[in-house]
Symmetry: C2
Subunit: 388 residues, 2 copies
């Protein structure tokens, strides 16, 4: 254990690519074959505490001549420690600090049957969406002293079934799923962000999609758009269907039903704008005629703009493009995206808080089946009044 770091002392050429040569003495052919007693090698071995090894409560108790019970009571500031004189308490705290005692969370969790850990399942970390939600989750968890294990399912069916089981084995107290179908019967409290399946025991945190569609279609309608193309999400995304349906409804309500030839679907699971680009390319290749595009998300809106641009169509002069999500990039794209904002951070934080609440209230608690949050429309440069 100790000698692990000794090797680093070696002079290392600065410029990268340098690997230190293996130096473990015991493995090296020694010119004088002197048998070595390990004991003798460590003269600084006072207080019988093995340097380097973590010190346990028992070690600390022995060092102090007290029992682990007493230490536990004092260190956890249990009310049962009231009879322990302050002087002793002080001794204990001081020793704990000096010997750098760190309670073993594993042991504690096992005993008290509580891990202060939850599991988070996301489609993929780098898709922007998940990361923003995770940020909110983390913020809420941190204040409650919880940690979380993350797992990405990458849209693979086997992982959708396996990951929850693995997390449960690791004794997470609950699970937050982000934009992920629930393919397991929940043995723990589960909160799903953007989940539309109604599964017993699962709280869904969802956007008010109807409102979102109203905002988007209303905005385009008011600008004079009547032929609106819609980019539908990938099949695996839980929002895909509601998004499309609510948009259709909002359009129909205004007497401008969405032409089915004007809906294209995102294909493939790349988290880049590529998929949006391809989708709109195919729309244009079919010679369809429209004045606005309502994209599934900002990522695909950006791809759409590229596709239109390549066909010589200016955004927003010739075609308006409306995004969804309001990711960081939206505000600084050229042209800046008009978009329907989802409060992703808040959704994550609400999800985490809802989960924690369920955890702390145990079974005598009414589980909200659904919590909805409101979208807002952020008008920027990618939409404009229809020309002509």
């Amino acid at each position: 254990m100790l000698d692990r770091f000794d090797k680093l002392v070696l002079p290392i050429p600065l410029v990268a690519r340098s690997f230190i040569v293996g130096l473990n003495l015991s493995n090296m052919p020694s010119s004088h074959a002197v048998p070595q007693e390990d004991e003798k090698l460590t003269p600084k071995n006072q207080n019988k505490t093995r340097e380097g090894e973590p010190v346990s409560l028992k070690d600390l108790a022995e060092h102090l001549g007290l029992s682990p019970t007493t230490l536990s009571l004092v260190l956890n500031k249990s009310p049962k420690a009231s009879a322990i004189p302050d002087e002793t308490k002080e001794r204990i705290f001081t020793a704990a600090r000096e010997l750098k005692y760190r309670p073993n969370y594993l042991a504690r969790s096992l005993r008290v049957q509580k891990t202060n850990t939850i599991g988070v399942i996301v489609p993929e970390l780098s898709d922007g969406y998940s990361a923003m939600v995770l940020n909110g989750v983390e913020a809420a968890l941190t204040t409650a002293e919880y940690f979380y294990l993350t797992a990405s399912h990458l849209h693979k069916e086997d992982l959708l079934e396996k990951l929850p089981r693995l997390l449960v084995e690791r004794q997470v107290e609950g699970i937050i799923a982000v934009d992920t179908p629930i393919r397991f019967e929940p043995s723990l409290p589960v909160v799903n962000v953007s989940g539309h399946d109604e599964v017993e025991g699962v709280t869904n945190v969802i956007l008010n999609h109807q409102h979102a569609a109203e905002l988007g279609i209303g905005h385009l309608y008011n600008l004079g758009h009547r032929r609106i193309a819609v980019i539908k999400g990938q099949e695996f995304s839980s929002d895909t269907n509601v998004r499309l349906e609510t948009i259709k409804a909002a359009a129909a309500k205004r007497g401008i039903p969405i032409d089915t030839r004007l809906t294209v679907q995102l294909l493939g699971d790349s988290p880049s704008s590529e998929v949006g680009y391809t989708a709109v390319k195919s729309l244009l290749a079919n010679g369809e005629d429209f004045t606005a595009v309502f994209a599934f998300n900002d990522i695909s809106a950006i791809g759409a703009i590229r596709a239109l641009d390549e066909m010589g169509l200016r955004v927003p002069a010739d075609v308006s493009v409306l995004g969804f999500d309001d990711i960081y990039a939206a505000a600084f794209h050229n042209p800046a995206l008009t978009t329907i904002r989802q409060p992703l951070f808040e959704m994550g934080s609400i999800a985490a808080r809802a989960l924690l609440e369920r955890l702390s209230n145990g079974s005598d608690y009414s589980i909200p089946e659904e919590v909805s949050v409101e979208p807002t429309i952020i008008v920027r440069q990618s939409t404009a009044r229809v020309s002509s």
Copy 2:
């Protein structure tokens, strides 16, 4: 503690329509006040296994009339189970499946002193950079059946000291830090992605910055640029100083030293393009004269383009802009960013693999102090030959 969450119910006046009514029978006022024996309520309570409660190895052993030892040996396919007849083994596996036995990872980890868990410390999840690296980390960890706990320090000094300690308490086997200064003495193997401090016991995974600067400055130089502005990173970013120094060196080598009046620093810790925008705005406000901007990253390059645009300067016609990182957004920005690509996914995956290797090889292993990866230049539309 508990009441903290009660409030949460309030600020969601939204459309939280449907709530499942509390269903715990024992809490519900019963019309026929029959005293209930819990036993009687569960007729399917065969085999004395409490429905709902997870089944332990002991439960399973009792159910089978065998000892936990035998089950453990068999379930873990220990070579010591060779004497157990196949028939018994089969019985054990079947029962485990039927009663849905899931080993408690906590207990196992405690016993075998191995958690198969590492800790990851990042500045912030939603900054794109961290998420990409994490993606790589995860990919490498998954194949080794490791999980990881994530913690964000948000550039706060107290968290930089506290988080590693919390992770160690939770018995992580090692720590991966991403773009994070090491403010603790490592008691565990630590790998730092983009770490430039040389701390004993810490392996740094870094980009070959000199090469990156050569690629960038070389590209601009070859296009005829002689007055190049440089956007320096925030003070907290570990790459900030090397990046600037190597760029200066590469420029000086070509006889076009970077004018100090042409370097601006990113300020504030927003992960949006805002900071790059502000920086270049101030450069332009000073009336500085330059034909190219070498940005600290793609995010700030995009902000720079916006700032130039607002001043009527066309990119790349009037000013070339060179980014860094090659995030997903770079390819689809308008104009598409020419950028120095960092293999972030690979860096994460290399970091994880290096850590795992250190873990599995124990002390008799030579720790590479530094592993470097190579950048590439991706030429797109934001840079062009200097006009006239």
